[in-house]
Symmetry: C2
Subunit: 320 residues, 2 copies
């Protein structure tokens, strides 16, 4: 048995829900009656999606978390995932730690590893995740309507702050850095919130590339525009106290175009306001209203005095 087959043994826990788990040519699953299967795949490469300094446990967590976040954005319930892993060398200690972080998160969401592939090569992690959503209930990017409120879950900008510290472009007090670093290396997929929003929200997306850029995807596919406030970046549940220490321009960069947040950005009719906040409360996640969907196309960003804010943001240029 080769070293990489031994490595595979770290990923061979028995499955409970799948018809057939790993160890055959295919895994077999049977989605419930009336359920659609939601599928997403993400590939993580060192230096691009994570830094070499991340611990194997947190990398195992993050690799699955960014995939689960896509299920959350569709309002899908996690069911199973496959893992393909290329490793420079068969380092059992590393794999044991990676698999621990991976399984901890997977078990929290009853999401089973049903198959995979391990090979020698430059470090690369590719996870494909499967969730169930009742037919017609998925939250999709094209469903935003004029008059909808625009909401963001949790806090944005922290992950980017940590990245800027790693890049030597920002310095933070040690405690603030540790908080931001945890947000970057151990994002929380908003699964419960996605499920709670199924019959409340119209459109949804998870914020991976930056809030404004990802909002742009919703606008483009829904054929609508948006007016987005920035008052909430001066102090609201969506901004961590750490971010408030930055000068305004940088704070806006981090919050609006930072990326790697894995929060849910969604729209919902005004009549749903109470239910939106109740869903956030039930899930233990703050929800902040940041703007409104408009018939008029384009994205209008307003400053603290409700005047147009005309500066450009990295992931926002193509909507200017």
């Amino acid at each position: 048995m080769g070293e990489f087959e031994l490595i595979n043994s770290y990923f061979k826990r028995p499955t409970r829900h799948a018809v057939l788990g790993g160890g055959d040519d295919c895994a077999l699953i049977a989605p419930g009656a009336g359920q659609h299967l939601a599928i997403s795949t993400d590939m993580l490469v060192e230096g691009r999606h994570f830094l070499p300094t991340i611990s194997p446990e947190l990398l195992g967590h993050k690799a699955l978390a960014v995939n689960l976040s896509d299920l959350a954005a569709c309002g899908a319930k996690p069911v199973a995932f496959t893992l393909a892993l290329a490793l420079p060398r068969a380092d059992k200690h590393w794999v044991e730690r990676f698999s621990r972080g991976l399984y901890d998160l997977a078990e929290r969401h009853a999401c089973e590893l049903i198959g995979g592939d391990t090979t020698q090569g430059p470090l690369n992690i590719c996870i494909t995740v499967f969730g169930e959503v009742p037919s017609g209930q998925a939250l999709l990017r094209h469903a935003a309507e004029a008059g909808d409120d625009i909401y963001i879950s949790g806090q944005v900008g922290d992950a980017r702050m940590a990245l800027e510290v790693f890049r030597g472009k920002l310095s933070l007090p040690a405690e603030a850095f540790e908080r931001c670093r945890a947000r970057m290396e151990q994002p929380t997929p908003r699964i419960d919130l996605g499920l709670a929003l199924r019959d409340i929200a119209h459109a949804a997306i998870d914020v991976s590339d930056g809030l404004l850029g990802d909002l742009g995807h919703i606008l483009q596919r829904s054929g609508v525009g948006a007016t987005v406030q920035t008052t909430w970046t001066e102090g609201s549940p969506a901004i961590s106290p750490d971010l408030l220490t930055l000068p305004e321009a940088r704070r806006l960069d981090m919050a609006l175009a930072g990326g790697d947040d894995y929060e849910l950005l969604f729209t919902a009719p005004k009549a749903m306001r109470e239910r939106v906040h109740a869903a956030g409360h039930d899930c233990g996640v703050p929800i902040t209203c940041i703007g409104e969907i408009t018939e008029q196309p384009g994205l209008r960003l307003l400053d603290l005095h409700s005047q147009p804010l005309l500066r450009r943001f990295a992931s926002f240029d193509h909507f200017a």
Copy 2:
């Protein structure tokens, strides 16, 4: 829009069967009533699963073919796949050619690309493939029974011959090399045969690591043994004339432990002999009987005189 987002545009053909194709956080599919979803994932790394000399078109073909081969081994009908691709640089010409090879094979099997991910990084291709198989009809590794015949589809050993030439360990006439190289770089997934064998075969596996090694997986999971002949390596539809030019020891290595064949190795009750060969005939694939499943555990290889052949093979050691 970044270069890698542009690259994504090569993989954005509209889907016809999926409920929702690419472009949202998740794709949505709805397996037919009474169908199980068969899922397999394979990661391909340069130098390990393909050589840098392979053309982009053939690499696109091969990356999907090795995944479809897993569906074939389960008797599943291809439905859809996701593609995650890490590329050292955004080379549109390369991607255009890669996508052409990929789509050509995908369309031949009505298998839709429903989602994916493109990123910068060392070349890595990870495909996850989805097929349908009626509940209870999947061909599985654990279903071999004592008394079953053991069959191999097509020809084995050619791909390994080509690899040995690339490694400088074998020389072949130019025409023979081209034939073997085509088998290595452009394998044919035996989808039709897998479907035809659903109610004929017991256990099945696709031969990727070498015939004896992969047979070992069936024996282990079925709790049975096997007697395997080698007379067929002296001349049969399972051996190409090119392979017959090699000395016996090397020929056995290539045929029994070569790998990368992507043929179906399967077992079926003796009462099914006629139907097995009729299935092969209907699918245009030769089928060769190479042995028998036994109650007695272990794998016994017989030489041309039906005497035990005691030498060891690379992917066969752990059954000796």
